[in-house]
């Protein structure tokens, strides 16, 4: 299959390119950018007129809910959501059931995900067995099975000696360690940011100190062990400051933020809106503003969807009993563009946070449009509205605080390894 993507505005953050250029694809790879390669005869021409042509999005956290939670989502439904959202590569956290702590489970997942219309799946293996924070997993075996990093999803390793040793062991193989910073004691029973809204609504709060205290531990141990640490889902201004300071002190730490925390804050809990029950909690407007700025400057390295499909029953409960999380794969692009517009950022900078930057964190040679790279491409109309509705969402999870909103940024085509995985002109 030879594909010619014509008339588009090519934005490739990796090469800092933003100009009208055609793209040529053959045998699953990019074979030309700009001029037609010699002897290239397209079997298919995709019109990208009025559209941006960029690398397929790379999402550092998408829960596919397999294995174990198929009533919430299946690989099929979530892969359709990824393609519709222009996401061609994603990392999935290990908090499945059973958790991703055995090579066989990882192999099964990557095998199931190996369909041409499916995004590339990079499992994050469990750092400790059962995510219990007690015993190490077989990291080398898990890496062979396809794990790109090791983490705990949003569960903490309470025992700091175990955490130290897990990081040392990972560092032995130079495996990245992905950790969410939240002290489980300060977060105990907490369901919302410990601030004015929680005080008013009578919700149990999670203070910012839950993040900063856990971060202090993680950063100290990163320094001790030399482990390659990636902090997931930073939620507070104070957290960003600590990571920035650690970097200045020579600790090679990266971090990401979720789309919800970039656009929402504690006030969006409104009158107990269970869709705003997220982990970490939505924090103050000051925290949100700091996260937006830090992502723009690159102090926060990547933006992810933190895609977490939840079935309706899981949200049709009182706020404190509601399942945590929001669907996000199909919102990653529109919410990236919304943030870029509001921050007056060049699109090439904004798209770097969802393409080349997260690809670097994953350690894969992808997220770019250079000749020879896998043909993972997103073509989107930056002006056409995407209306978030239960009907439009392909994810099985219809749980998002953005239901009913319309955002500019509509995917026209998604190519995965040169395969047309989504064609928005058909709908």
């Amino acid at each position: 299959m030879k594909i010619h993507i014509k008339n588009g505005r090519l934005i490739d953050p990796a090469s800092k390119t933003d100009k009208p250029l055609d793209v040529f694809v053959a045998a699953g790879r990019i074979v030309g950018v700009g001029d037609t390669p010699a002897g290239f005869e397209a079997s298919s021409v995709l019109d990208a007129g009025g559209c941006v042509v960029c690398p397929g999005l790379v999402d550092l956290s998408a829960r596919l809910r397999e294995p174990g939670f198929e009533y919430r989502a299946t690989l099929e439904s979530e892969m359709a959501a990824a393609a519709a959202g222009g996401v061609t590569r994603l990392a999935c956290p290990p908090d499945t059931d059973p958790v991703l702590d055995e090579p066989g489970l990882v192999e099964m997942l990557t095998h199931r995900a190996r369909l041409p219309e499916f995004a590339h799946v990079h499992p994050v293996g469990a750092l400790t067995t059962q995510l219990e924070g007690k015993a190490l997993t077989e990291m080398a075996e898990l890496a062979e099975a396809g794990c790109v990093a090791f983490g705990q999803a949003n569960r903490a390793v309470v025992d700091t000696q175990v955490l130290l040793r897990a990081m040392m062991y990972a560092a032995t193989f130079d495996f990245p360690v992905w950790l969410q910073a939240q002290d489980p004691f300060l977060a105990r029973k907490g369901v919302a940011h410990d601030g004015e809204v929680a005080a008013r609504l009578g919700l149990v709060g999670i203070p910012v100190a839950a993040e900063t205290i856990a971060l202090a531990t993680i950063l100290q141990l990163a320094r001790e062990t030399g482990a390659r640490v990636h902090v997931t889902r930073v939620s507070s201004a104070a957290g960003v400051e600590m990571i920035t300071a650690a970097r200045a002190a020579g600790i090679g730490v990266t971090c990401d933020v979720a789309i919800h925390h970039l656009h929402l804050c504690e006030n969006d809990v409104g009158f107990f809106n269970a869709h705003a029950r997220l982990d970490p909690p939505l924090r103050s407007t000051g925290d949100r503003d700091a996260l937006r700025k830090a992502l723009a400057s690159g102090a926060i390295n990547a933006l992810c969807s933190d895609h977490t499909p939840v079935d309706d029953d899981g949200k049709q409960t009182p706020f404190d009993e509601a399942e945590v999380g929001a669907t996000g794969l199909e919102l990653l692009l529109p919410l990236t563009l919304k943030w870029a517009r509001e921050m007056k950022l060049p699109m090439v900078t904004a798209l770097a946070r969802v393409t080349s930057d997260p690809a670097r964190i994953l350690g894969v040679d992808a997220g770019c449009l250079k000749v020879g790279a896998p043909a993972d491409i997103c073509v989107f109309d930056p002006v056409a509205d995407y209306l978030v509705s239960r009907e439009a969402l392909k994810s099985q999870g219809k749980n998002t605080p953005f239901l009913g909103y319309a955002f500019p940024g509509r995917v026209r085509y998604t190519l995965i390894d040169g395969h047309l995985a989504f064609d928005g002109t058909l709908s």
Partner: protein, 325 residues
């Protein structure tokens, strides 16, 4: 399942009238005052030979108590019966919730029994909102929801009966200094009182508690914070005590009831710092010797039993305004 919970405020209809009573926060002063005015004549009903009015005749009021309560449930039951409603009491903490039925399934089943009003108590903050939103989303808006206490969030009829009591004894809200003492952190009563006092124009609302029993940012609810009870009680017109639950000794919030009583228990000696005509209130049930000394609880300044009596009238007023014929 129905339409998703979108988080809107379903308390008022589009004419600004009360459709449900979920919280005092955000209620217009006129609505609040109208409830108190409506309650006034109902206090006399209790003194009649026949204590019944026909305002809710033919209506079914379901008391949905997902959390144990004797006093609140009883006063709601009396109030509904005095308005001639049929009252059905359900203690769900001991029935279907344990069998795995979801809150909204329970609500759907009871709604199918032609309920006109749900009086809801639930351990989770916001549960009555979920019910009201669910009823709206499924076109059963004619069923009214009264919040009888949800988690730490609100206990609006308690807040209203407290306002009724203050108005009865003090007449004018705009000259008062009011102190709320004790476990504000876990108290839905305190939150409702604070909103009501602010709406009614009380110029100084104080909360008095150790730092472990105050929510973060409580001052932004419009109160002055005192940790020292003696300082906080100086010159106040109204002292509103809160109940301290025994489980607060767990989780490192307090060392002991004895130490709590010493610092924040209301004794005659501490009460003497308030104005001589200050009134003492308590939402009940009281822990004598923990938050309040018996000499105060049984003393001349206590208006704790009148609170209970007024509570019935206020609950009658709320139910009559929401669902009255």
């Amino acid at each position: 399942m129905s339409v998703m919970n979108t988080g809107g405020n379903p308390q008022l209809n589009r004419h600004g009238e009360l459709k449900h009573l979920l919280t005092i926060e955000g209620l217009p002063r006129e609505v609040l005052t109208r409830i108190l005015d409506t309650a006034a004549p109902f206090t006399e009903v209790a003194e009649r030979e026949v204590k019944k009015l026909p305002l809710l005749r033919g209506k079914s009021v379901f008391n949905l108590f997902f959390e144990n309560s004797t006093r609140t449930r009883t006063t709601f039951e009396i109030a509904a019966k005095r308005l001639s409603a049929d009252v059905i009491n359900l203690n769900i903490s001991t029935s279907s919730a344990n069998k795995g039925e979801t809150l909204l399934d329970t609500v759907d089943n009871l709604a199918a029994m032609q309920a006109d009003m749900f009086v809801v108590r639930h351990a989770s903050s916001g549960a009555p909102y979920l019910i009201a939103q669910h009823l709206a989303a499924t076109d059963r808006d004619h069923i009214h929801v009264v919040n009888a206490g949800d988690g730490r969030h609100a206990h609006p009829t308690q807040g209203l009966l407290d306002m009724y009591t203050i108005r009865h004894y003090k007449k004018d809200f705009t000259q008062l200094t009011v102190a709320i003492v004790g476990d504000v952190l876990h108290s839905r009563v305190a939150r409702s009182q604070i909103h009501a006092l602010n709406i009614l124009g009380v110029p100084e609302i104080r909360v008095i508690a150790p730092k472990t029993l105050l929510p973060t940012g409580v001052e932004r609810l419009g109160v002055r914070v005192f940790n020292d009870m003696r300082e906080g009680l100086r010159g106040v017109d109204v002292v509103m005590m809160l109940r301290l639950q025994n489980e607060r000794m767990q989780g490192a919030l307090l060392p002991s009831t004895q130490e709590f009583f010493k610092s924040w228990g209301l004794t005659p000696e501490k009460l003497a710092l308030a104005k001589p005509d200050a009134i003492v209130m308590h939402p009940g049930p009281m822990n004598r010797g923990v938050e309040i000394d018996s000499a105060v609880a049984d003393g001349k300044q206590a208006v704790i039993l009148p609170q209970v009596t007024f509570g019935i009238a206020v609950r009658m007023a709320v139910m009559a305004m929401l669902g009255g014929n």
